[in-house]
């Protein structure tokens, strides 16, 4: 049963490996970035899922002053920051790709390498 009980770990690992695979294998730079995003998202998912407590609510003091079970907010905060970072990374990467496309006329890694060797 422990395999099912830790299903979030399995999803995390699968996604992570898919992401890394894409980063390594794909020659298209845009696809590489997509792979990188999947890779990062898997980590984000993992931490969000770890922070979740079943039946927990948002960590806000209730008006009646009663106690409530709430999910740990810290992972959310951290991952929110990490997402922002990931977005900026993607933006930067895409802009690099645009400029690579402008100067090489291609975004295929092997073609770029060829163009580099040619002159």
């Amino acid at each position: 049963m422990w395999i099912l009980g830790t299903y979030n770990y399995w999803i995390f690992i699968t996604l992570m490996m898919i992401g890394l695979y894409i980063v390594i294998v794909r020659g298209n730079l845009v696809k590489k970035i997509i792979g990188l995003n999947i890779f990062q998202s898997s980590v984000f998912l993992f931490f969000i899922s770890v922070g979740k407590i079943s039946d927990g609510t948002a960590p806000i003091i209730l008006h009646d002053g009663g106690e409530a079970i709430y999910s740990n907010p810290l992972p959310h905060v951290l991952i929110l920051t990490a997402i922002v970072v990931a977005v900026s990374t993607s933006a930067l990467a895409l802009s690099l790709i645009v400029r690579i496309h402008e100067s090489y006329g291609t975004i295929q890694e092997d073609l770029i390498r060829e163009a580099e060797r040619a002159p």
């Binding site: 770890v50 992972p75 990467a93």
Partner: protein
């Protein structure tokens, strides 16, 4: 201009901070008045105080240098962006060094990395783009690994404050999660610090980036990454890292192989900046070697070499920047005869180059001495051989440039080349002079480094 003032101010502040730390012990600063472990804490001790000074000194010199060089190598409309990026990079580096909060480290790490990707991409050569892209992919993977490590640590200890973490982690050393966290952190940081064999991104990035950026990154970015490695060794406890886990052995083997391979590759390069980039990988190997040795002298040597190498490598890259400004290339064959037309630049290069080789009376010798004696002390003779073999290789690759610069007839058009502007020379000599000065009197950096090493190894049995 504003950027220059800011960097100098930051340098001055970091010096003041370091001396204060040396006199009064660690300084702590609570953000938003929240005491740890809830709030974010900034904490400065001898170790990161020293790192701050390194970053401050190198950046102060580099920014002094930047004006004419940036004018030549960066497109007209992009110069203000360039300075903004440099400031962002420095903010990230300072932040990484100063913060006492593990997640904060990640944020600053990414800030610094994003800024450096952008800076590298500003290089004139179109290969700068692909180099930056490569760095971006690897850097992001590294940072994400780092994030995983921090997350796991948080899951185990329930805190992000580094001091707190170090305390709480003590009881749960054996746990598999902690081991995993350690592995992820080490790999992530190693990617950032370009530890062999994860140095793949570095030569391209340094070679095609604008010279100012090469100098800045070589002097600061990788050093801060190495600092992180030390910091996390502290968190896990030196006894855990060195004794329970084979961190020392792993690092030293990697470092030794890296030193040899990178030095040999350096000899084969035809572009001076690329050559120096490979030499950077080799010297990071020295630093890691010192840390991996895990004894007092070794870690002191490693930390000291961070400082000395930052000075020397910063200086040689600045010299190459001056060359770039005057002749527009750094291909070794085009450097011929420059010793005659740019005597001051090349003298600075030579002084710093000697420090890279590790000739006595330069700073490089002092740290090499520490590391070699540490290796002999541990009885790890192969490492001693690696160290000296790499000195020989260093003689070869530095001499290749010196040979071209001084002993070759000037190529066509060399008569029109002029000496670099005064401010650039001043910056260059600030670094080169320091690397000679601290070779003659090493007491200041050495004493700080040994204090820092004592902190790192505090829990060593």
């Amino acid at each position: 201009m504003l950027a220059l003032v800011v960097t100098w101010a930051a340098f001055a502040i970091s010096l003041v901070l370091l001396f204060q730390v040396l006199n009064d012990g660690p300084i702590r600063y609570f953000f938003g008045g929240w005491a740890p472990p809830w709030g974010i804490e900034y904490r400065i001790d001898a170790l990161n105080g020293f790192v701050l000074v390194i970053v401050g000194f190198v950046s102060a010199a580099v920014l002094l240098f930047a004006g004419p060089s940036v004018g030549k190598e960066i497109r007209e409309g992009h110069q203000h962006l360039f300075y903004a990026m440099v400031m962002l990079l420095l903010a990230g580096l300072y932040g990484m060094a100063i913060t006492g909060d593990a997640f904060n480290v990640f944020v600053f790490l990414e800030i610094a990395s994003l800024a450096s990707y952008a800076l590298i991409a500003m290089g004139k050569d179109r290969r700068a783009l692909t180099a930056a892209f490569q760095y971006l992919v690897l850097g992001t993977v590294g940072a994400t690994f780092f994030l995983i490590g921090i997350g796991l640590l948080y899951a185990m200890t329930g805190t992000l404050n580094m001091v707190d973490m170090a305390e709480r982690i003590h009881g749960i050393h054996g746990s598999r999660t902690v081991l995993t966290a350690f592995a992820f952190l080490t790999v992530g940081i190693a990617l950032k610090a370009a530890v062999f064999p994860m140095h793949y991104w570095l030569p391209g990035a340094y070679a095609y980036a604008p010279s100012v950026v090469s100098a800045l990154l070589a002097g600061t970015a990788t050093k801060v990454a190495v600092y992180l490695l030390l910091r996390f060794i502290m968190i896990f406890g030196a006894d855990f890292a060195y004794v329970a886990l084979p961190l020392g052995a792993t690092l030293t083997v990697l470092a030794a192989v890296g030193i040899l391979i990178a030095s040999s590759s350096a000899i084969l390069q035809n572009d001076a900046k690329r050559l120096l980039a490979f030499s950077s990988v080799a010297h990071l190997g020295y630093i890691i070697l010192g840390i991996g040795l895990g004894n007092d002298t070794g870690v002191t040597g490693g930390i000291l070499h961070m400082f000395n190498h930052a000075l020397a490598k910063g200086a040689v890259f600045l010299a190459m920047g001056a060359v770039m400004l005057q002749i527009g290339t750094t291909h070794i064959n085009r450097l011929q005869g420059l010793g005659r037309v740019m005597p001051w630049t090349m003298a600075g290069f030579t002084a710093a180059g000697l420090s890279l080789i590790g000739v006595p009376l330069t700073a490089g010798f002092v740290s090499k001495w520490y590391i070699v004696t540490a290796a002999i002390d541990r009885g790890w003779w192969p490492l001693v051989l690696v160290m000296v073999a790499s000195s020989i290789l260093a003689v070869f690759y530095i001499w290749r440039i010196i040979d071209a610069v001084y002993f070759s007839a000037p190529g066509p058009g060399a008569e029109n080349v002029k000496e670099a502007p005064m401010t650039m020379l001043a910056a260059l000599w600030m670094l080169a002079g320091a690397s000679v000065y601290f070779g003659i009197d090493s007491s200041f950096p050495a004493s700080v480094a040994s204090k820092a090493a004592a902190i790192v190894l505090a829990q060593m049995p």
